[in-house]
Amino acid sequence: MTCTAEGVVSALRAAVAVVIAHRDELVRLDREIGDGDHGENMRRGFTALLSRLDSEPPATPGSALKLVATTLISTVGGAAGPLYGTAFLRAASAVGDATALDGPAVAKALRGALDGVVARGKAEVGDKTMVDALTPAVAAAEAAGDDMVAVLVAAADAADAGAESTVPLVARKGRASYLGERSADHLDPGARSTALLLRAFADAAQSDERAQR
């Protein structure tokens, strides 16, 4: 199975729902080691995305991803806005004008996203950021073969584990780093939102696949 513009859009709609459902959780996580706005920042951005998906339906997977990027950049703010914005911008470049994405294309998009986040934020694995979720996700995606659904599920599973791995870490980037040692024993909100997004994409792809069978 491959993923068309329609598939990307339905995955994005699923992501919107997940972000809204987890808004309070992300706020709480960010209150603990940040400034308490991550859930609201993401909700604001993805709510804006929803209305743009309705008013400007994208024609290709790439233009869908670009729409996500520009929307998040102009509505999220904070650290997450430019980081996720750049991630989706690079993902869009990676897929180019393709009308449908197979597994390797999705892996390439994820690789582009990770490169973008690292280029902007300069974080490494272990710094307790979204990079800790995205890095293993990309590796798993690249190892998962040709099936688009399998790639996304592998990425989501790895992102979950990667996010969990941030709990014991002492933050070295972002606002949580101001807490020093006290940032340990908390899940990083950005790593959590990355894992949530990837899970939403994987779930959407799986149910599309089921529907098509």
Binding site: V27, R31, I33, G34, D35, G36, D37, E40, N41, R44, I73, S74, T75, V76, G77, G78, A79, A80, G81, P82, L83, G85, R120, G121, R172, K173, G174, R175, S177, Y178, L179, G180, R182
Partner: protein, 333 residues
Amino acid sequence: MKKIINDPETVVLDALRGMQAAHADLLTVHTDPPVVVRADAPVARKVAVISGGGSGHEPMHGGFVGRGMLDAACPGAVFTSPTPDQIASAVAKTDGGGGALLIVKNYTGDVLNFETGAELAAAEGVEVRSVVIDDDVAVKDSLYTAGRRGVGGTVLLEKIVGAAAERGIDLDGCEALARKVIGQVRSMGLALTACTVPHAGEPSFTLADDEMEIGIGIHGEPGRHRVKAGTADEMVRQLLDPIVEDLPFESGDRVLLFTNSMGGSPLIEMYLAHGIAENLLADRGITVERRLVGPYVTSLEMQGMSLTLLKLDDELVELWDAPVNTAALRWGV
């Protein structure tokens, strides 16, 4: 959570409308995207001095927009960096041909959003420079962290650079001056209570009735460590000693002392703390030549204070004393 608001989602825009009503002589509020611009912008040939950041720190930055200080301020959501389109719009509305200097506080979000905003503005043909202020000595600085935060020193920086721009100093000069100020200003804060972000609904942390957080920032985030709240003498010393030792400030230095309320602590306590800080500096042979006391860089209703020291010379004293006409700082006009 009890607040004088209608809806957490519209707080910033609702407050901006009130600000517009209160200060129509000084500033113009644009809402899409949100930018506070000085009433007579753009000023021909002048360097446009622009800042911004999350809301919730009022009067910073909107209260510093006006003659002799900022040309524009970009208010983000509460405690959330503004977005690049706000920054680009601020530049477009204030550029009078002299270019724009962006004053950015050192937070990942602010730095990244201002970076993109500057790129957008440069693409429109405006010469844009950025300086990043990181005056908070509570944060350990290292190549491998987000670095120090920008806090109270921001007000002093904006006042001084704003005065220079008003005098017609060019972009190179303003940028160099800004870097000089950043190099010699240091701050540190403490909190007695936490604050509640409207859309979070609950305090960012809780403190027992005898505890305080040392080394807090201005975003309701917890500080570096928690200690028993002592006397004002002890509190002031806990802020001032690390500041003085960091630069370091030394006997014979001339300084501006800025005693800042985090919002919820009353002015009587700020004057009291200020008096203590003046005495401690005198003991060290440091001469306080200028001062600012009050709630200027706040964290909503948080109780607590910060101290900022800026090393002065004749140039900085003159620029500090120069006329300023904004909602929050006003003299000489």
